[in-house]
Subunit: 350 residues, 2 copies
């Protein structure tokens, strides 16, 4: 079935009536509507999106911009797909489709976004992998494109909506927990880039130290990339120290795989010889030996929240979502593993 015109001719009625019947407008005869829906179903008619978008001035499609890094890093493994699921759930309530726009490795994220927005393929955007200073915020604000962000930024205005994980809080709590376990020399690993989470993670770390009356020692901050290789490098550096830290916080759980290996190679045991707490629960961390102590959250709920925040930004749905918070720092719950045993167990591990 080609178009609405053919469908209308087949039914011997006007395209306008077909359109109204299909779009659930009130003023259509019940029997007419039934005939139209039945014919559309049997003939497999689905409205051409381009015609619809052009006429309505909107596409009913939401774009989620992902960077190559957010897919390849440890974050990919189950986090993003589940966030996306939650997002789709929230949007599908209003028949909005979600498409994923993957910024190529090498392409500047800002240019990429500009292109996508200018083409008007999507009515609204979800952005992620925010940076401290992120030009996408002023750009989207200026372009008048509704959006929400997974991640904070200094560039966000009071009108912008975002959800972010409580990186600060978990770093603080991890330090306090390690302190209670008897640790006095607690290190931290964080990425050496301008991603927002690095700053937050370190802020929380410092705050935790302060609470415990420990001094901040810049030598205990290990800058490394948030993946296996980065964790391996951190492990190597720690092993080489005269005066090793007895515990470490990792900002990404995939780092632990490399850290475990470096310790294993050196005949040391992660957990016993270095207590480890990592940022986010994942299947890998759950099956490492020792099992990783980490922080849990519900990524689907994060996605649903993002979806609702986005809907609150769309004129067509704003009134239905007026009670949605404007920003949300998502709490995370500690999941006790085996990688930060309390002092009395530290020698008896395995």
């Amino acid at each position: 079935m080609k178009g609405i015109r053919q469908l209308a001719e087949h039914l011997q009625i006007s395209t306008g009536t077909v359109s109204r019947a299909l779009n659930g407008k009130a003023d259509v005869n019940a029997e007419t509507r039934r005939r139209v829906l039945e014919a559309a179903e049997t003939l497999g008619y689905v409205p051409n999106q381009a015609g619809r978008s052009l006429r309505q001035g909107r596409s009913r499609t939401i774009g989620l911009m992902l960077s190559h890094d957010s897919m390849v890093g440890g974050a990919s493994d189950t986090f993003f797909p589940l966030v996306i699921n939650g997002l789709q759930e929230a949007l599908s309530v209003h028949s909005l489709d979600l498409i994923l726009l993957l910024c190529q490795r090498g392409e500047a994220p800002d240019d990429f976004l500009r292109r996508m927005v200018a083409q008007r393929i999507v009515d609204a955007m979800v952005i992620s992998s925010t940076r401290l200073d992120d030009p996408r915020f002023p750009f989207l604000n200026k372009a008048g494109m509704p959006f929400v962000s997974l991640g904070r930024s200094h560039s966000a205005t009071a009108d912008n909506r975002w959800v972010d994980l409580d990186f600060e809080g978990i770093a603080e709590r991890a330090v306090e927990r390690l302190y209670q376990h008897g640790h006095r020399k607690i290190a931290v690993a964080a990425p050496d880039t301008d991603v927002q989470l690095a700053e937050l993670f370190l802020d929380g770390y410092r705050r935790g130290l302060a609470h415990c009356g420990l001094d901040y020692d810049p030598d205990l901050v290990f800058r490394a990339e948030a993946h296996e290789q980065g964790g391996y490098a951190v492990g190597q550096r720690i092993i080489g120290l005269r005066n090793r830290p007895t515990a470490i916080l990792l900002n990404a759980e995939m780092m632990s795989v490399g850290l475990y290996r470096s310790f294993g190679e050196a005949g040391l045991q992660p957990g016993r010889d270095l207590a480890i707490i990592a940022e986010r629960e994942s299947p890998v961390g759950r099956f490492l030996l020792p099992r990783l102590t980490c922080f849990r959250l519900d990524p689907i709920a994060v996605g649903q929240m993002l979806g609702k925040m986005l809907l609150s930004q769309l004129p067509a749905f704003a009134d239905l979502y007026s009670d949605v918070p404007t920003t949300k720092i998502w709490p995370m719950e500690l999941v006790e593993g085996e990688s930060d045993p309390p002092p009395e167990k530290q020698s008896g591990l395995l």
Copy 2:
């Protein structure tokens, strides 16, 4: 800048000329073209996609359909993002955009595809996660939507284009390698679903056994899901056996994380107590201890090949890509790790 009409008025020329200048048509005065391009640049004009698509009958957008499983499973970790990069590289040569369409958990992939195709948002599709019997092939063939597939299927016709990994070949070679290392009781893990790769992997396994003169023993085939938890379950079952296999092939490298843990918990050493070869190289496998022996391929090249195959299916570009193969079984190269030590080293590991 709103539309082409405003741009034309600003330049005091017709919209037709603006359009021709912008689209690089030959018969435009050089100076006119320069003025148009400059004005478009400074005023930030980009053509409205809906208008373009409607008029041209095509969107210059390619859809990549991903299933939730393909993102969440181990396959996600670096494989898909890199394939996507290669795909985008190939398509960007002709200014074709790629959008990712993620089939929700729970939504039937066939219905999802039907909806996407009917809406005509994309000109062509890339599908993945093929099954033995996959209705998407006849559907796309019937709908006349050009497509390529990452993965074989019995449902593919001779006209369909696909790239698939050489699951059969690697399973066969892995068995032969393990046989040469002295193993006579070689197990295999494969998913218990109708994904195409399960069948191929088992076919190769059987062929390898036959080459080595070993009997096929169904008790050595462990059906399990292709992730950490699945690998853990396989490990548990092996440990419980009176007469354990001395080696195993895993169809997914993420399984090894769980398998390693189950062995570690039982005081056994992966590698020494069970030789392991897994399907695909990944950062996790590289940093496990012992390092995983596995098979390597270049996912970017796979993506580029898929892109070229797809272009060969599009009328506008077919003649430029007439030399692209119609199907390709992608070879993989063994990467020697520490998880399948030759016999003389098996006792001295670690």
